[in-house]
């Protein structure tokens, strides 16, 4: 009696499962909606307002945003063969790692047909859609900083610090503090960087992992000095910042290998919207990061020009990241970083 019930239950379950699977078979006629994975927070809102809204108005295709965007998630997607998104946001270093590991498909630049863009944003495997800077920030009631050397100088500038728990940022910061010129940073001198970091270690109260942490820590007076993403502290009351010696970088949208071709074609049109200067200006209203258009400067609000990373006045003093060096040397650096964090 029991056995009959079980057999019946199993057959019903199998039937239900196969029916539901049929509904999700790929190759359906028309794309009505696709998903993208991005960093979330204010950056995600800027994508929504600046790029997704005009895209949906023009094409009628809805875009759903997912976050966050760790590299491990992309790797899981590609290895399992279950690609759920045609677009994935990655930092420049993660993109170089993903490219070297064969996780990406090349972009269809003809389909994107972009408006004029800066060269470094136009990569075969990635669309650089957002310039952002990691820079010096401090509480308004603390002694102002000018350079990373100041940040690492605890006697002249007393107080607790917070640095990103990310060696692609922390090591260049230490080298700049030790006097290396911004354009002579790479290849990185690891011994020199770790020596400098060890000097500061006792005064680093928190190693932050989320972009929202540094401004919160500054406001709570947990730390007096922070290295933070520019968009998170720009214009915040009680916090000051400087673009001098900032670490300029680009966030890219990439296509995972094996993405659905029709979703990819639709996604290319979304990328076109990201190259339009007017859309970039709208995105910049929400979070002060800039898009890759050379015409953007003219469209930015004049009274807030100091907040943006790629304006004339700010772009000059910054150091640009070199993802190819990182893709080759990441393993070596990671081990030393772990040893450093554990105090050896």
């Amino acid at each position: 009696m029991v056995r009959r019930t079980i057999v019946r239950a199993t057959v019903v379950t199998a039937l239900a499962a196969s029916l539901s699977l049929m509904g999700t078979l790929p190759g359906q006629a028309k794309v009505e909606e696709f998903r993208i994975v991005e960093a979330g927070g204010k950056s995600g809102e800027s994508i929504e307002k600046g790029y997704i809204t005009p895209f949906t108005e023009k094409t009628g295709i809805k875009v759903v945003r997912e976050n966050p965007n760790p590299l491990g998630k992309l790797k899981a997607m590609v290895e399992s063969g279950n690609i759920t998104v045609p677009l994935y946001e990655l930092g420049s270093t993660s993109m170089a790692i993903a490219e070297a590991a064969g996780m990406l498909e090349p972009l269809d630049w003809e389909a994107i047909d972009p408006d004029p863009m800066f060269d470094e944003a136009k990569k075969p495997y990635g669309f650089g859609y957002q310039y952002y800077s990691t820079l010096l920030a401090w509480r308004a009631d603390a002694k102002p900083l000018k350079t990373w050397a100041d940040f690492f100088d605890v006697e002249a500038f007393p107080g607790k610090r917070t640095l990103p728990d990310n060696f692609t940022l922390a090591i260049p910061m230490a080298l700049l503090a030790d006097g290396v010129e911004p354009d002579k940073l790479y290849p990185l001198d690891l011994d020199r960087a770790f020596k400098k970091l060890n000097e500061l270690k006792a005064h680093i109260a928190v190693w932050w992992t989320a972009g929202a942490q540094p401004p919160q820590l500054l406001q709570d007076n947990e730390v007096q000095y922070a290295a933070s993403y520019s968009g998170r502290v720009a214009g915040m009351p009680g916090i000051e910042m400087t673009y001098n010696q900032g670490l300029l970088d680009l966030a890219y949208f990439v296509v995972p290998k094996g993405a659905d071709p029709e979703e990819k074609a639709a996604a290319m049109k979304l990328l076109h919207e990201m190259s339009v200067a007017e859309n970039q200006a709208k995105a910049a209203e929400i979070v002060s990061y800039t898009g890759p258009s050379p015409k953007l400067d003219a469209l930015l609000p004049k009274d807030r020009l100091a907040e943006f990373p790629t304006t004339e006045q700010n772009k000059g003093g910054q150091a640009l990241s070199q993802p190819t060096w990182w893709a080759e040397n990441r393993d070596k650096v990671e081990r030393r970083w772990q040893e450093f964090k554990l105090g050896m």
């Binding site: 009696m1 029991v2 056995r3 019930t5 079980i6 239950a9 199993t10 379950t13 760790p70 590299l71 491990g72 998630k73 790797k75 790692i97 590991a101 728990d165 680093i204 109260a205 928190v206 190693w207 932050w208 992992t209 709570d220 007076n221 947990e222 990441r330 990671e334 081990r335 772990q338 040893e339 964090k341 554990l342 050896m344």
Partner: protein
């Protein structure tokens, strides 16, 4: 076990679908993931060798054990007197006390962890109160170090020790204690020679449970440690998400699983010894 084969009751069939589900959805992926540490890219023990040769991971394991041991000790020091006191209450008060112990579970662990930041931070409740009274002049760093992690973890895991211990203490026969008293034993002797040994198996089980949970704990050390207290789970997060080195993560997970199973075996052995 008797000589004759045990008859499986017919009702066991109802559990079968759930068993199959658990095997497919839970056990199989874990085994596949662990197998990765042996077989990727070709059958090798190299990942384990790298794990044990790199002093970093050994240090992480050691530090995690240290924190787990301290947390377990603190939970015992705080939890045993609490359970003992709860036992001495009237039944209605016992219900209230047990509810108060369980109440924190109704609040998300993430909210509880962040609440500690508000309480222990430099501009937090404790520091400001101490500064108002005049005990200290500069704020004490409770957070973003081992102290903060231990405080937060102890707070979260204390009920796991108190509740089983309380339940076991209730089962200890009052007449045994009365018999000891009638034989002339003073209260202190009654406690240490009669009551405490009877509560020891439950205490050991609860302590091992807290140890296992702390050993694999992720969220509270990640938030309250500020990246300065790397424990096994945080290292796994780095390896899986940031560096995408899954073979190393699988090897470390296997070590974590072995330690946990060893602790579990220990607790079963203690339980079996106590039943004799």
């Amino acid at each position: 076990m008797t000589g004759a084969a045990k008859r499986v009751p017919a009702e066991a069939g109802y559990v079968l679908p759930l068993l199959v589900l658990m095997l497919v959805v839970f056990v199989a992926p874990i085994l596949l993931m662990l197998a990765r540490s042996f077989t990727h890219p070709e059958p090798t023990l190299a990942h384990y060798r790298a794990l044990f040769e790199t002093a970093v991971y050994l240090r992480i394991l050691g530090r995690t054990m240290e924190i787990a041991a301290i947390t377990t000790g603190l939970c015992i020091l705080l939890g045993y007197p609490l359970a003992y006191w709860m036992r001495s209450l009237s039944p209605e008060r016992q219900v209230i006390a047990a509810t108060l112990v369980v109440l924190p579970f109704w609040i998300s662990i993430l909210v509880r962890t962040y609440a500690w930041i508000v309480v222990l931070g430099n501009a937090g409740v404790v520091n400001r109160m101490l500064q108002e009274i005049g005990v200290i002049t500069a704020p004490i760093s409770f957070l973003y170090n081992e102290l903060g992690v231990i405080i937060g973890t102890t707070n979260v895991l204390l009920p796991f020790l108190v509740l089983p211990l309380f339940a076991a203490m209730l089962k200890i026969d009052e007449r045994l204690l009365q018999a000891a008293a009638s034989l002339g034993a003073p209260p202190r002797t009654i406690f240490w020679r009669v009551f405490f040994p009877l509560s020891l198996p439950a205490l050991a089980a609860g302590a091992i449970l807290v140890f296992i949970l702390t050993f694999g704990f992720y969220i509270t050390p990640a938030v309250l440690g500020g990246g300065r207290v790397p424990m096994v789970a945080n290292a796994l997060d780095l390896l899986i998400n940031q560096f995408a080195r899954w073979e190393a993560a699988a090897a470390l997970s296997a070590v974590l699983l072995v330690v946990t199973l060893a602790c579990f075996a220990l607790s079963r052995w203690i339980g079996a010894r106590a039943a004799q």
